[in-house]
């Protein structure tokens, strides 16, 4: 429910119900240069669209103003002056323009322009002056300058009827007046002081009906009828539904009419009531009578008439054993809500047919109220209709809170107070998202208020992203840690340099940026981890020198960390690496990356006993190990001679039994 204003240069301004400016957009350069000649706003399943006829006699379309995509329609050949009339059609999800130039009709779609002729068009019709498309885009009416009216389907495949009226001049307005699912179609035209209804139906408008208008009026086509607005009055012209017709037709003998009569007599305490009732009952039409009354009540606008019809229905109900009460209850509820919103102070004069359509799951009614900021009424309606809290009340409250935040009235109040006031009203209502409200507050530039509101948000998961957006990374981090869900904190490391003490930063960097990780450890003087870091990076070094360098760094760090063992072990590793390189060069066999044990073992296997002995001494290999190693290596090699020599050299520290088992 917004107001769209289209300016000559193609700028479209959007205002809300309170005439507060919301936003604007432009319809493109072409429109800007050639100016707007005529503009139409239309509704499709995609949303609200705008169609513009430019000064260059070309059309521009935007099918959805919320998701703006401009479309320039192809040129109409030979179009020199503006078309006499045009309309936007929506068929099978495609939006097209139908325009009339003199006696020709053109259909403009995305790519092409084609001439069309409506079937059964009278050849003497003359040129077209007006056209009207029905609310659901199914029917089309054309008015020609001979007073000829053609009515048919928009597909231009079928003619519904034609008609000649006495007035030649073009009507000020021409609109369709029909009900959904009704077979009776009629077109209403308005001239300055005259209203004319034209239709083909057998019962409704047939032929020509004229009404006199007292004032200048404007017609608004709607789903189930036509609203006639003038300076002093607001009338609704619609086809009378069957139920109402049956009941209120003069001398009607329909069951509903009889039931109404019976009830009236009953109130007068007259025995005629019984007679009427009997008459219905004899025909076994009582259930029908009741439902007729219920249905008709819905179409009435006067509460008194509604009441008398409902009273009749409830009266009739007493005489039926098992009449399902839902329809009656539902109607009473609906009417109460409808009457409440039709009240002149609220001013939403919906008809009954429009109500369920607008309402959907009983929500749009309240949400239109919310847009009008009629929060108390909306809440009361929700409570009356017993909508679940999450669907109804909490949504309204959330809207209210957002409005409250946006409205700068609270300026004299501190942020604290506003937040507190909101929390008092909202409490722990299920379905309320404080973070959404806070986000709104932040959008309005009230960061402090947003933070205060976030305090009420029970789910840390919702707090963190917004806090980060507001660049409160410290607070976000502490919230994330509080939640115990490090994945949230996973957001926080983004600005690692700004918050190096995040407990997750190291982990994150471990995978991401090893350099940052080093800086982090440096900042913390974590020498142990720095040592480990260097050892780690030594593995990725290809060249021996690089590896030794990295390991040397590690040794330094380990000493700083007072981890003598690690330092010593790393020094040994460096020593081993250098040795292995020598061995590799000397024997042209791969020795690198073997453990000390394997290195010595390999040396013995290859018969380099001297070198093995040297390593044994240099690395202070325990005797036990050396014996195991040497014996098994020799055995593997099958070098029994050497084994005997070895076994005699010293006393075995591992006993002789083992040797046998080898």
């Amino acid at each position: 429910e917004d107001l769209l204003c289209i300016q000559e240069d193609g700028t479209v301004l959007i205002y809300n119900l309170f005439c507060e400016f919301k936003r604007h957009f432009s319809m493109g350069n072409e429109v800007l240069q050639n100016h707007v000649l005529e503009a139409k706003v239309f509704h499709t399943e995609y949303g609200t669209g705008v169609a513009i006829l430019t000064g260059a006699h070309r059309f521009s379309l935007a099918t959805n103003i919320d998701d703006l995509k401009l479309r320039r329609m192809p040129e109409v050949p030979g179009l020199q002056k503006p078309p006499s009339c045009w309309a936007v059609l929506s068929q099978d999800r495609v939006t097209i323009v139908l325009l009339a130039v003199g006696q020709d009709l053109y259909l403009l779609d995305n790519t092409s322009c084609s001439v069309v002729t409506p079937p059964g068009m009278s050849p003497s019709a003359g040129s077209y002056l007006r056209m009207a498309v029905s609310f659901n885009y199914r029917c089309l009416a054309l008015f020609a300058d001979s007073g000829y009216i053609w009515m048919g389907l928009t597909s231009l495949k079928e003619k519904l009827c034609e008609f000649n009226c006495s007035i030649r001049s073009a009507p000020k307005q021409m609109v369709w007046c029909m009900r959904p699912r009704s077979r009776q179609r009629a077109v209403v035209m308005a001239w300055d002081r005259q209203l004319m209804g034209v239709g083909n139906s057998t019962e409704g408008i047939h032929g020509e009906h004229r009404f006199v208008l007292d004032e200048d009026s404007y017609l608004v086509p709607e789903l189930d009828g036509v609203r006639i607005l003038s300076r002093t009055s607001h009338e609704f012209l619609h086809e009378i539904p069957e139920a109402s017709q049956e009941i209120f037709k003069i001398a009607s003998m329909a069951p509903g009419a009889l039931l109404l009569e019976a009830q009236k007599e009953y109130e007068k305490e007259s025995q005629k009531a019984d007679e009427y009732l009997r008459e219905i009952k004899d025909q076994k039409l009582l259930p029908e009578a009741v439902s007729q009354c219920i249905e008709a009540a819905g179409y009435e606008h006067e509460p008194d008439t509604q009441k008398s019809l409902l009273r009749a229905a409830s009266f009739g109900k007493c005489f039926i054993d098992k009449f399902p009460p839902e329809s009656f209850v539902r109607m009473c509820q609906d009417l109460r809500v409808l009457n409440a919103i039709r009240d002149y102070q609220i001013g939403i004069p919906l008809t009954f047919t429009q109500y369920p359509l607008q309402d959907g799951a009983g929500l749009l009614g309240p949400s239109r109220l919310v847009l009008r900021r009629l929060y108390p009424l909306a809440i009361r309606i929700c409570e009356y209709l017993r909508l679940s809290k999450i669907q109804g009340v909490s949504r309204i409250l959330a809207h209210w809170a957002c409005y409250k935040v946006r409205r700068r009235l609270g300026k004299d109040k501190s942020d604290e107070e506003v937040a507190h006031a909101i929390n008092q009203k909202l409490g722990d209502t299920p379905g309320i998202s404080y973070s959404e409200i806070a986000a709104r507050a932040y959008d309005c530039g009230r960061t402090e208020l947003a933070i205060k509101l976030l305090e009420y948000e029970p789910r840390s998961g919702e707090q963190v992203p917004l806090l980060l957006k507001m660049k409160r990374s410290k607070l976000a981090l502490s919230k994330a840690i509080e939640s115990g869900d490090t994945d949230l904190a996973g957001w926080a490391p983004l600005p690692v340099p700004t918050c190096p003490h995040s407990p997750v930063a190291p982990q994150f960097c471990k995978h991401q940026e090893r350099e940052t990780l080093k800086d982090l450890y440096n900042q913390d003087d974590n020498h142990q981890e720095l040592g480990n870091f260097h050892v780690h990076s030594s593995y990725s070094e290809k060249r021996i020198e690089g590896r030794v360098g990295a390991l040397q760094n590690a040794v330094d760090e380990y000493y700083k960390a007072k981890n003598d063992f690690a330092a010593k072990a790393t020094e040994d590793q460096i020593k081993l690496l250098r040795l292995q390189r020598h061995l590799q060069e000397d024997f042209d066999k791969p020795y690198l990356d073997l453990s000390l044990h394997d290195t010595v073992s390999n040396l013995i296997l290859d018969g380099h006993h001297k070198r093995a002995e040297q390593l044994y001494r240099e690395f202070k290999i325990p005797d036990k190990r050396y014996w195991w190693l040497k014996l098994s290596a020799l055995a593997n090699r099958g070098d029994w001679e050497e084994m005997e020599k070895f076994s005699k050299s010293k006393k075995s520290p591992i006993g002789y039994l083992v040797r046998v088992s080898l």
């Binding site: 994945d487 995978h511 480990n532 050892v535 690690a566 072990a569 081993l576 990356d593």
Partner: protein
């Protein structure tokens, strides 16, 4: 059901629904990307996926080719790539590389990443950094729970152990809480919850928050599982470090059971190909021996084979009609059983061969003396020899850890020398491994803490228990100690038996370790379930250093009493008054649920523990359902600690 005695354990609920839920969601996700697509699957998701949806199901939903993540797709013509991955940064890099390579060569494809079980923000950040965030769509496959067997549910997150206990990464806690929430909504509401450990507590609290947020309509539904017991792996490392001797555990140690199935190689199948066998309760032979001590398995198997032979033999002397019946009805089952039997016999032989080669008996002896705490010197030199002879890097490491944890750390001299020996034997890169093990508390050095214990024990005699608890906490912050010996004494974990322990007719859970040791984790569970509270365990809880989980947590949920150490914990359930075993009818569903216990192991659980608790359940009329982050054993735990040379 009414006829069943109270000691009969109830039937476990049907966990098949978990599979169906996972499958349906996966199909839904695949259909979100209509048309033919290639699917890239993370290597460790392959086996779980196999249990959920077959290749033909994937093909039905227009999956064209299957790739393993990490392998380069060669000249791929498909227009759509779908990645089914764990939320890992490395994998994100891999995907980003593919996308960027496509961009360079001007190819345009659709990419969809499905994270299982959930997406981490860090992953999105990496995608963003690599500049491909806009090119991919992300989805979550909330596949938290894989039922491996009728009583085992695994989250298949082996990395949880390292991520949480070593790196202190709390991200998976969210997944655990969601898994608990799912189980609670399907089989709950759980009546009572117990737990010990920091992670258990955090998961529990987050889970409760989730429950509050969702306000599920679980009220009034008949619960199928009555109790939950959450336990952190670091409460009991000893049990994981022991060699397993029940059949299922041995199979796991020897052949590695992967996702409920095992590959028996040629040496078992006595043919030239390996056979993949699903190990669960459906396998009738396996089901009867899985929980048995290995020594009784052979006897059982030979008896079984004789029975089978007898059944085959029946067919002699049958007339044609009987024969027809036999062939159509029994033969298939017999053949199947026969096949399985020969496989398990093969497996047993293979295990025997391997174990005798490694001086298994001697190792078991050393382990037992470590557990009982005598002949420490001898065991130490056994370990030393083990290292010197390069028997196996994993085994050596395991024994060192076992020594350290049972002895409250190694004495400084041994600590240095064993480490040096180890580095010499298995390579210097294990320096980092030792650092990891120290951090996690598996391999530590005895420090001044030892003398403090003496002081402490004197102090505790003087002051009240509570104050002593505080003092211990202070000491513990200096040196994290396992206090295994004290706990073992307190709980009687080492059974005192006269003569031989009868492994065929075990009396207690110690049978899973040849009667030498009752698993600590299982003992705690037994104790708490028996008393329905932590009372009587105050001292043990203190020794386990888990008082801190009381202190650090503010019990936000009013529904719950106090956390571990003080009293029983009650989650909001439907029965405020627990039906007492002897006061209510046995067919009462609430009572039935009361005997169903969900044992949650955070950081993995071993088959020995599962066998022990199954045994306990049979004895006490409980039925245990196991939920674990992954099935583990000593080797897996050690491997998680080893720093890969990358």
């Amino acid at each position: 059901m009414a006829a069943a005695g109270s000691s009969d354990a109830p039937e476990p609920p049907d966990f098949g629904i978990l599979k169906r839920l996972a499958r349906d969601q996966l199909i839904y996700l695949l259909e979100q990307l209509p048309g033919k697509k290639d699917l890239f699957i993370e290597a460790d998701l392959m086996s779980p996926l196999d249990r959920i949806a077959s290749v033909s199901i994937l093909k039905q939903h227009e999956v064209d080719k299957l790739y393993k993540v990490e392998s380069r797709p060669v000249l791929n013509t498909s227009d759509q790539f779908c990645f089914l991955v764990r939320p890992r940064i490395k994998t994100m890099r891999y995907i980003a590389d593919i996308v960027n390579a496509d961009k360079m060569s001007g190819r345009s494809r659709k990419y969809k990443i499905i994270f299982s079980p959930q997406k981490f923000y860090a992953c999105e950040m990496v995608l963003e950094e690599e500049g491909v965030f806009g090119d991919v769509t992300c989805d979550e496959w909330s596949f938290y729970l894989l039922p491996l067997d009728e009583d085992i549910i695994s989250m298949e997150l082996p990395e949880f152990f390292r991520d949480y206990f070593l790196e202190g990464d709390h991200r998976w806690i969210n997944s655990i809480s969601r898994a608990l929430q799912l189980l609670n909504s399907l089989y709950g509401p759980f009546g009572k919850a117990y737990g010990i450990g920091r992670c258990a507590k955090m998961s529990y609290e987050l889970w409760q928050d989730l429950e509050k947020e969702s306000e599920g309509d679980s009220q009034g539904r008949k619960p199928e599982i009555g109790n939950v017991f959450l336990m952190d792996r670091d409460m009991d490392y000893v049990t994981t470090l022991c060699s397993q001797v029940v059949y299922e555990g041995l199979v796991d140690d020897t052949f590695r059971i992967k996702c409920g199935s095992v590959d028996f190689g040629p040496e078992v199948t006595s043919s030239d190909k390996s056979i993949k066998v699903l190990l669960n309760a459906q396998d009738k032979v396996f089901n009867q021996i899985r929980n048995e001590h290995f020594s009784s398995v052979f006897g059982f198997l030979s008896l079984k084979s004789r029975n089978l032979q007898a059944q085959y033999d029946r067919r002699r002397g049958m007339d044609i009609k009987q024969m027809k019946n036999f062939v159509s009805q029994e033969l298939k089952g017999l053949k199947q059983e026969h096949r399985l039997l020969s496989l398990h016999i093969g497996a047993c032989e293979s295990i025997m061969k391997k174990k005798t080669k490694q001086d298994f008996q001697e190792m078991i002896k050393a382990e037992h003396s470590l557990l009982e705490g005598f002949d420490i010197r001898e065991s130490t030199s056994f370990i030393e020899e083990h290292i010197d002879r390069q028997v196996s890097p994993i085994e050596s490491l395991r024994l060192m850890c076992l020594l350290s944890i049972t002895e409250n750390g190694l004495i400084p001299k041994d600590y240095r020398s064993l480490k040096t020996q180890y580095l010499q034997s298995y390579g210097p890169e294990h320096l980092l491994t030792f650092h990891n093990l120290k951090r996690i508390g598996l391999l530590t050095e005895q420090s001044a803490g030892e003398t403090l214990t003496a002081v402490e024990s004197r102090v505790s005699k003087l002051v009240t228990d509570r104050a002593a608890g505080k003092i211990t906490d202070a000491f513990n912050s200096l040196a994290r100690k396992s206090n295994f010996r004290a706990i073992s004494k307190k709980l009687g974990l080492i059974p005192q038996v006269d003569g031989e322990y009868d492994l065929k007719m075990p009396r207690d859970m110690a049978y899973v370790f040849s009667g030498a040791y009752i698993p600590l984790s299982c003992k705690i569970i037994e104790h708490v379930l028996e008393r329905r509270s932590w009372s009587g365990l105050e001292e043990v809880v203190r020794l386990l250093n888990s008082n801190e989980s009381v202190i650090s947590g503010t019990a936000s949920s009013t529904m719950w009493g106090k956390w571990a150490g003080m009293g029983g914990l009650r989650a909001g359930g439907i029965h405020s008054a627990l039906p007492h075993p002897d006061s209510t009818a046995e067919d009462n569903p609430a009572w039935e649920a009361q005997r169903m216990v969900l044992a949650v192991f955070l950081g993995g659980c071993t088959f020995s523990e599962i066998a022990a608790l199954r045994f306990l359940g049979k004895e006490r009329g409980f039925k245990f359902i196991f939920l674990t982050t992954a099935i583990t054993n000593s080797a897996r735990m050690m491997e998680a600690m080893i720093e890969a040379k990358a």
